[in-house]
């Protein structure tokens, strides 16, 4: 159970960053926990839906198409037009998502997270990610 505690604590940091970038400065810890729980369940939902789509396609490894279909299923990609021809190349939803990533909200999120816009600088999250990777490697190799 200690593993899941660690993951929850790490995810709580991301949740707090998200809330902070939206403008909220303080909250009750139970609220933050509830939000973190929501975030965790949402990510799990995306993952399980992707896996379901992959298995429906007779594959055990998920592909990008599975991820996209899952996002549509969940409602992340809008607008979706279910009456489209399959051959029709309608990328409006994906374009919207990409636009959002390039947009100001995502930029603010990155700023709060300490992720610098310039590629040369290494942000706080990158440093920590590298350190966590090293730690997990050490953990797995010291046997």
């Amino acid at each position: 159970m200690t593993d899941s505690e660690v993951y929850f604590t790490l995810l709580r940091v991301s949740a707090a960053q998200t809330l902070r970038s939206a403008g909220i400065t303080a909250a009750k810890p139970s609220v933050v926990d509830a939000f973190t729980d929501l975030l965790a369940r949402y990510l799990t939902l995306l993952g399980t839906t992707t896996r379901n789509f992959a298995e429906s396609g007779g594959r055990t490894q998920a592909e990008l198409i599975d991820a996209r279909m899952a996002m549509e299923h969940v409602g992340l990609l809008r607008p979706i037009n279910i009456f489209n021809d399959p051959g029709d190349d309608d990328t409006e939803a994906v374009d919207a998502l990409v636009e959002w990533f390039r947009g100001p909200q995502a930029a603010d999120l990155r700023r709060v997270a300490g992720h610098a816009e310039k590629e040369g600088q290494v942000g706080k999250s990158d440093e920590w990610l590298g350190a966590t990777k090293k730690l997990s490697e050490k953990r797995n190799t010291t046997a």
């Binding site: 159970m1 200690t2 593993d3 899941s4 505690e5 660690v6 929850f8 604590t9 790490l10 709580r12 940091v13 707090a16 960053q17 809330l19 902070r20 909220i24 400065t25 303080a26 909250a27 009750k28 810890p29 139970s30 609220v31 933050v32 926990d33 509830a34 939000f35 973190t36 729980d37 929501l38 965790a40 369940r41 709060v112 920590w128 966590t132 730690l135 997990s136 953990r139 797995n140 010291t142 046997a143």
Partner: protein, 473 residues
């Protein structure tokens, strides 16, 4: 009756906005609430049992809600304990609330990240090597070990065996100093075994069959290694105190032999403790009392003991000579020293001669004994010609010399037979380094001829003796 209170329902309805609630309605609602809680708890308990746990957790409740198609409750995943604060309404009825102070996000974001817990691993380490616990971090320190082993008997068991060993020695009144350096716990079985074996071996009145049975048991039985140090100490003690009794010494040598024969013993650390008794029985000055041997027999009994010790020495050198660098040189030096010392009694010389042959075989004889033969002749010649009290002893020494040189000749003769005869002779001639002067050799050969006639009785022996002396020239 229902556990869920109607008052609680009323409180909840008031918080929602329904002020007037009928009693019956509240009661019915309470029963329904209780039923739902029971349902959720049952499912959660099923999850708990299937996970082989006895503690009901929030994960179980979440899974139960999922199974019952109920909207999940968010925010109970974290392991932070819920702290309940108390507040009184003024009617001496406390109301509990969840303590939940607002926290700043900056603090939350910039807080130090949690430590990644280590994975479950396991390694091996030495608990004890040959009875000694190494001082590595995984082993408890001596103070901790002392605390842990308060229940086991401390030195009592090894004290009893040592005291038993001391009671077996009625002639000497020495007190055996009991110094338990290692806390040694021997089972009663092993203590009994040690006692029985030691008494049966050293007791002259027990029959041969029993003694042989005891030795056979020592030779074959596995699982006796705990008694090994006690046996070794027993041997050295008996040897030092029992020099008068040939029987004791012989028995100790047989005991040593049995210990060496046993496959399950790791006897290498005890070899250095076993060597002194063996050497004592080999080159001791005066083994056994003067009345112990039959005065009419040709060869007194202590020579048999020395032969036995020499063969034991040979066994030890064969097995442990390679693993220990100093064993053979030390033994050789001791034997040689005793051999070359004319002040030592003749039986010591006998012992050292056969000892040297046993330790080093052919090479030792060739290098150490042969060059000293003419010197030695000066020692034994007067004894033999004197017809004195020590004549028999000198004769024994001479026969020992003959015996070892015979051993040399046998091996050299083989080498000569294998190759061409001339080459063999040349090789053996070259190998004899110190040429013995002819005059002394002739005198030696004369006395040796006498002896060979008396001892060997065949002309063939005489011929090869002569040939050998020619080879040495």
């Amino acid at each position: 009756m229902s556990l869920w209170n109607g008052d609680t329902i009323k409180d909840v309805s008031e918080s929602v906005g329904v002020v007037n609630l009928n009693e019956d309605v509240a009661k019915n609602l309470a029963m329904d609430v209780e039923y739902r809680i029971h349902q959720v708890l049952q499912e959660a308990l099923k999850f708990m049992h299937h996970a082989r746990r006895t503690t009901l957790g929030t994960q179980d409740i979440s899974n139960a809600l999922r199974v019952l198609d109920v909207e999940p409750l968010y925010g109970y995943e974290s392991a932070r304990p819920l702290r309940f604060g108390e507040a009184s309404l003024g009617q001496a009825q406390p109301i509990f609330y969840v303590e939940d102070d607002e926290v700043d996000f900056e603090k939350l974001i910039n807080a130090p990240l949690p430590k990644v817990p280590r994975d479950v691993t396991f390694t091996g380490h030495w608990l004890a090597i040959e009875g000694v616990q190494p001082a590595i971090p995984q082993n408890p320190t001596p103070s901790e070990a002392a605390r842990l082993s308060e229940t086991t008997p401390k030195g009592a068991s090894c004290n009893t065996t040592l005291s038993i060993a001391s009671t077996l020695n009625p002639t000497t009144n020495e007190t055996v100093t009991i110094k338990p350096l290692v806390k040694h716990v021997l089972s009663k079985e092993l203590q009994l075994y040690f006692e029985r074996i030691s008494t049966s071996i050293t007791d002259e009145s027990t029959s041969d069959a029993i003694r042989n049975a005891a030795l056979a048991s020592l030779r074959k039985d596995p699982g006796l290694h705990q008694l090994l140090p006690y046996f070794v100490q027993f041997i050295s003690e008996k040897t030092t105190h029992g020099l008068r009794s040939l029987f004791t010494l012989t028995q100790m040598m047989s005991l040593t032999h049995a210990l060496l024969e046993n496959d399950s013993f790791f006897i290498e650390p005890y070899v250095s403790s076993l060597i002194p008794p063996i050497l004592t029985c080999l080159i001791g000055k005066h083994l056994g009392s003067s009345s112990s041997s039959d005065p009419h027999s040709q060869t007194p009994a202590h020579y048999a003991l020395r032969d036995l010790s020499a063969s034991l020495l040979k066994l030890v050198c064969k097995r442990f000579g390679d693993s220990s660098h100093t064993l053979k040189p030390r033994l050789t030096r001791t034997c040689l020293k005793h051999f070359l010392d004319p002040a030592k009694p003749l039986p010591t010389h006998y012992g050292s001669i056969i000892g040297l042959a046993a330790i080093g075989g052919r090479e030792a004889v060739r290098v150490l004994i042969l060059p000293n033969t003419n010197l030695y002749e000066k020692v034994i010649r007067p004894e033999i010609e004197d017809e004195g009290a020590r004549k028999s002893e000198a004769e024994m020494c001479l026969s020992a010399l003959v015996g070892v040189i015979k051993q040399l000749e046998e091996e050299e003769g083989e080498g000569g037979r294998r190759g061409e005869e001339g080459k063999g002779k040349m090789a053996s001639r070259r190998s004899c380094r110190a040429p013995v002067p002819k005059r002394s050799k002739r005198s030696l050969s004369e006395s040796w001829e006498n002896w060979s006639v008396r001892k060997c009785g065949s002309s063939g022996e005489r011929r090869w003796l002569k040939r050998l002396l020619k080879l040495g020239g």
